[in-house]
Symmetry: D2
Subunit: 342 residues, 4 copies
Amino acid sequence: MTYMGLFDSERPLDLIAIGRVALDFNPLEMNCTLAESSTFKKYIGGSPANIVVGLSRLGKKAGFIGRVAADSFGDYAVDYFNNEGIDTSHLFRAENGEKMGLTFTEIKSPTESSILMYREGVADLALSPQDVDEEYICSAKAILISGTALCKSPSREAAIKALKLAKKNGVTVIFDIDFRDYIWKSLDEISVYYQTVAEQSDIVIGSREEFDLTGRIIGLDKEDDIIVARFWHDKGNKLVIIKHGKEGSVAYSADGARYLVKPFPVKLLKSFGGGDGYASALFYGLLEGWPLDRALEFGSAEAAMLVAAHSCSAAMPGVQTVTDFVESEKAKFGEMVFKLDD
Amino acid sequence: MTYMGLFDSERPLDLIAIGRVALDFNPLEMNCTLAESSTFKKYIGGSPANIVVGLSRLGKKAGFIGRVAADSFGDYAVDYFNNEGIDTSHLFRAENGEKMGLTFTEIKSPTESSILMYREGVADLALSPQDVDEEYICSAKAILISGTALCKSPSREAAIKALKLAKKNGVTVIFDIDFRDYIWKSLDEISVYYQTVAEQSDIVIGSREEFDLTGRIIGLDKEDDIIVARFWHDKGNKLVIIKHGKEGSVAYSADGARYLVKPFPVKLLKSFGGGDGYASALFYGLLEGWPLDRALEFGSAEAAMLVAAHSCSAAMPGVQTVTDFVESEKAKFGEMVFKLDD
Amino acid sequence: MTYMGLFDSERPLDLIAIGRVALDFNPLEMNCTLAESSTFKKYIGGSPANIVVGLSRLGKKAGFIGRVAADSFGDYAVDYFNNEGIDTSHLFRAENGEKMGLTFTEIKSPTESSILMYREGVADLALSPQDVDEEYICSAKAILISGTALCKSPSREAAIKALKLAKKNGVTVIFDIDFRDYIWKSLDEISVYYQTVAEQSDIVIGSREEFDLTGRIIGLDKEDDIIVARFWHDKGNKLVIIKHGKEGSVAYSADGARYLVKPFPVKLLKSFGGGDGYASALFYGLLEGWPLDRALEFGSAEAAMLVAAHSCSAAMPGVQTVTDFVESEKAKFGEMVFKLDD
Amino acid sequence: MTYMGLFDSERPLDLIAIGRVALDFNPLEMNCTLAESSTFKKYIGGSPANIVVGLSRLGKKAGFIGRVAADSFGDYAVDYFNNEGIDTSHLFRAENGEKMGLTFTEIKSPTESSILMYREGVADLALSPQDVDEEYICSAKAILISGTALCKSPSREAAIKALKLAKKNGVTVIFDIDFRDYIWKSLDEISVYYQTVAEQSDIVIGSREEFDLTGRIIGLDKEDDIIVARFWHDKGNKLVIIKHGKEGSVAYSADGARYLVKPFPVKLLKSFGGGDGYASALFYGLLEGWPLDRALEFGSAEAAMLVAAHSCSAAMPGVQTVTDFVESEKAKFGEMVFKLDD
């Protein structure tokens, strides 16, 4: 049995992610400005893409609903997914010359990263509601909607259509808020669409800042975490995870249980990528039917492994590697997941 | 007491409409093509504008959240509303040169009308979420969202923000689907946004074709009226009204009652404007606390009066006139509202 | 023989205009604001459209390269031109829902007029270079390029293509600067495109303000009329006409002759339309081979007749009417055209 | 004395280029597809940028009118130009989030290269006419307009404004047609703007295909090279260079002299970059006052050096290196420049 009966074991795919596949260009020269970096290594990137790569490496069967460019970089994305064993039957090509989004990373120091994004006319936001079909949605235990997919039409409507079809058919909806300050036109717009999804999702995960953006127009940004979590529980979410950066995250289960998850104290190479590792391993655990605390621990471990790696996709580990990491780190530093009292 | 406790009598405004104010240019020469018509009379138009004019003529206190042009035609709209006693404190001016939408009507015969719309860069769709404030929403017993307001950003987000604030504060939400085939980019887009509102409204009103557009992506367009009505009841609507043109409409109350409303057999001058008269008088009745069937009869009467008039706004009648019309027509033609069995 | 050998008498069409056909809505109630006007009469409008109507009424064979809407208002424009005997073989329909431009006129007093224009997504600016063909250009003695056609792509490129084809084939190019403060993005943009045409035209006509806009980036706006005229003569223009509103205009011939043209002292009904009457009758005279001063006098007469009329197109007179007007007015007020000394 | 008196030796800057600065990302792994390449080296790119780098390396004083991104990649461009001694006083930052254009190169084999361009919302096309000032234009012996700058507003108008100011002030205008099949909307549009510049330039250089695009709407694409060259001479050009790929190019001087320039037979590394080397060294020679044939030989030598190098900018050589190359290659292969008979 799975956590709170979330996943229908009859469905062949474990998870379908909806949203962006992009390319990361990470500098080989680090600890300098992006202007100074002269050589770059290309990786698959984009939060939902990283998560399906992560899940696939952990042995889960993942799919993707998205659009990639009709060019060599789009070929790269499709080839990469195919090699990873991810189902690409619903990974379409953009039809009006849209390009893959690019992320150039500046790594000035392990804690000072910044990114330069190319997001004008990108293929992922060309995802159309026509690309979303009911049969495919029904083939998965869960869909994961990335908040970035909501930032612009027609990708926005495609994501909401997937939400409606998942609700109609009892497919679990995971909402990964994944805020990126691009393309959005106003704070109100963000709040309107994040709420539209969070009101109907089963699991919602994001940073406290992302929850503030979500609840802003109805005043939730002024409330304590516990009130915020309860609000989204009342709308039907079974699990609400609020992240607080280096302080760790708190998972609020609709059955009342709460867990504090502290980060494993690893050496950072860069300050991003952890969230996608966390999500991959957490959802893996939940899909395996693990108790929530064990799934959270597994997630936290993979998060730690990712911030110590050069990429966000290529570095995704297998189950044994994460398991070994959990054991060795706990031996050194003790427990990282704590049940909180009411 | 009001119908199903819908309206909070403590709130000062009866209804705030959200959406478009436009100008109608109706030809003085009728029964010819628009190319042949050479003289035109200008009126206030746009469904939600007509409805607040109608309600105001019936003695209700109405307000409007919208944008009009910063030009002489915008002046005309503001002046007109002020003269009608409609609250214009939230009727803003467009800031980037947007113009009033225009509707030129071709009246080839009483049953053959068509319209030529100017809807590029219109002021009403420049309504911004920033224009919607919680205090104003809270001052009304009900808000009416016109489906046209959903066809484009940022008006779309403004309307959804109003919806969220109304729900948060217990303000009744009326969704008038009011489909106009302009600007919308795809059938899926229409369905996504109509559903987003209809899932959270208290009253939803539209033609069968409009309900089909609403429920299309989840297959509701293939179901009988009674299934469709129950679906929206299950989402929380207290009243669902499905219109069938000359056949009349059926009102489905969430308490199980159903009424067939047949049109009064008047002589048509034009084939439009009836719906706005219907809505004005129906909502008047409901706000007055009338039984549903009496409110429906009043609505049907005002609908009949409007299709016999040259305009959709200037011709809106007062309470006594509608009351007299109901009496005299019923004397001639008998009852028009029929309770249906289960 | 014609004025400075400008027109090749072998070519069947007298003049092809390129640019906008629009609709004018003039109020029946005058001396009030546009907000107060409630009834409007529809006319064909747009400077180049008015000029071809004017020329056609004077017996010349005119054609038009342009786009009109694929709707009833577009039908009206095509029907109107056909009725006037204007060649509509190159009057195409817009293909992407573009509408006819509209001009609502406010006539507060005979000297205080203002206009409210609908120019978003208009059909005339959808004119494409593909619509301009060499054979048609070659069939005319002259083409008239309206400066408004230059304000936006692809109409801009269509007009410049017509210019290049006219130059290649010895067709006379008349540039009517016709500035409208719509759509243009910057003063520099205006100057760039006005110059591009004025550098290669044979006749250029405009107000002093329009000549200032034209020459601004090269500092011509700081020079006297006579320097300005010489500059454009040096670029190849045979005739430069600079208008000074109520003061009249001055015509600078490349052979050194200069004429002051004073307006006939008629009673104004509105403050616009005169320019199009002036152009029609002046070009008529030049096409007839009249001496420049006689053609100017004829133009000035028709200008006077137009500002006393309710429309800019429907009121265009025939040759006899203008001739009679010239005679009777001169009998009352004396000569209006004066040769200036060097 | 310089070639045909083209350059005014009193002016401090040798040449100002107008157009794009972009970034090239060239793969370190060659002879594979772009999808397979995983590591990329970043260089300054864009034809006019390469040419000013080339001229600067040859000891000439160059400037640039352009816009670069207001981000780290824009910093890189400004820093690079400053290090090369290029005047950056008129290299502005984009103000609306525009990014540097990117060119990813696929080098499948020495003769099979292709490029993947990011040109949506690029900084270089945000160049505004307001950025072009007369005093700066007057400070240069020549300006070089890259045809790419003409592909979109407002860069298009900025380039034409520079043209008008150069003509007014006797600054030599070089038109490098430099066609890139991006952003242009139609073949007619290309022809209209290329002609607008070529009609007023002093030197025009391009491939035969580029000259065909230029002259298409007036039928010049169907004429022999010699007719094409004469047409542009008649418009005022002193030098017309038509390139024929591996066959070499022919230079047509307005004084009647013609030279065939054959390429030096070097080993290719990639199939692009040669044109910018050619232009740099040719203009260097002309600015030095060399006879045309010597300047052409110098240009051809630098072209050969560039196609054998990994970049188009960083590999630009100094005078001695080119001189040595000319000597050693001619020793091996003989003369490459041939005077043609009439």
